[in-house]
């Protein structure tokens, strides 16, 4: 994983992160408002944000839909046991499916935990999620050694990430 850009954030970058991580101001000139708040200029704030976007520190700028209130209430964490030599190829292909929001490789803990590929699958209800999981299973075919879907039954805590505070 690339870490190179993390230590190139300076104080102004960090203040921009803190100022915008809850959202962009909903005013005609949002970057100007941020600049005013930080005692900087619109041009500097825009240049800093463009640099963070180019460096991947900002993943993207835009609307973050709330799956749950938009009717996608059957989110399931699907976990897959595939050969370590195939996990990158399948991880990419699963990640490209329009109903998958996150796809990651994670460590196994044998014998209790055999799954090395995680994909968050979204659907209107559990049934729709299971249909989609079956589509993934069909895509993997015999390379799918085992899989399960873990549905969330309760949100125990949700505080949002407080990043960029150090």
């Amino acid at each position: 994983m690339k870490q190179a850009d993390s230590n190139t954030l300076d104080d102004l970058d960090r203040r921009i992160v803190q100022c915008t991580q809850a959202g962009l101001p909903l005013v005609p000139q949002p970057y100007r408002q941020i600049a005013d708040q930080l005692g900087s200029t619109t041009e500097i704030v825009m240049a800093r944000m463009q640099r963070m976007l180019d460096a991947g520190i900002i993943r993207r700028i835009g609307a973050v839909p709330n799956h749950y209130t938009l009717g996608f209430r059957g989110n399931g964490m699907s976990v897959w046991d595939v050969d370590d030599d195939l996990v990158v190829e399948y991880g990419r292909r699963i990640g490209e499916l329009e109903f998958v929001s996150h796809s990651y490789r994670r460590p196994r803990y044998l014998p209790e935990w055999r799954y090395n590929l995680f994909a968050m699958v979204h659907g209107k209800d559990r049934e729709e999620v299971m249909d989609k999981v079956n589509r993934i299973a069909a895509m993997l075919g015999q390379d799918n050694r085992a899989h399960e879907v873990l549905f969330s039954t309760r949100i125990l805590k949700k505080t949002g990430l407080r990043i960029g505070q150090s």
């Binding site: 909903l26 835009g62 990651y104």
Partner: protein
């Protein structure tokens, strides 16, 4: 939610402009006035159809630590362990899931090194093993959610 709201959600998940009048620019592409776009975004945030509007940061590249962890908690111990786990400020999200691995939480720390020590503290506090499952590779973090 009408067609225009749907178009906003479908087309503004990415590439919102960095420009002096970004809403004006984006509204032009959607064929609506600037103030209407701002008003609709405001409304969708208020009724929680959007959880946020703005930059989405890559936590690790900001220098912090982030990891997904799981514990196999028996049902009769669940509330006690839940309380202990949630008491750690580093626990950002925590979900109960219908599986033997019944508790899944995300740790967010100021430095990557802190992850391991928080895990040890949670293990000592709860008496259960914490399975640390950091992402070893990220294939995609979606932005193609269609409504």
């Amino acid at each position: 939610m009408d067609e225009t709201d749907r178009a906003i959600i479908n087309r503004l998940q990415d590439s919102f402009p960095i420009a002096d009048r970004p809403y004006l620019q984006a509204a032009g592409e959607l064929g609506i006035p600037e103030e209407e776009l701002i008003r609709r975004l405001q409304a969708m945030l208020e009724n929680k159809q959007l959880s946020r509007f703005g930059p989405l940061y890559h936590a690790e590249r900001l220098g912090g630590g982030l990891s997904l962890c799981a514990i196999r908690v028996p049902e009769n111990e669940f509330e006690r362990v839940n309380e202990q786990v949630n008491s750690f400020p580093e626990v950002a999200h925590n979900y109960a899931r219908d599986h033997e691995f019944s508790m899944w939480f995300v740790l967010a720390t100021e430095t990557p090194q802190r992850i391991d020590s928080v895990i040890r503290e949670i293990e000592q506090s709860t008496g259960y093993r914490v399975y640390n499952m950091p992402k070893e590779e990220e294939f995609f973090v979606g932005l193609k959610f269609e409504v």
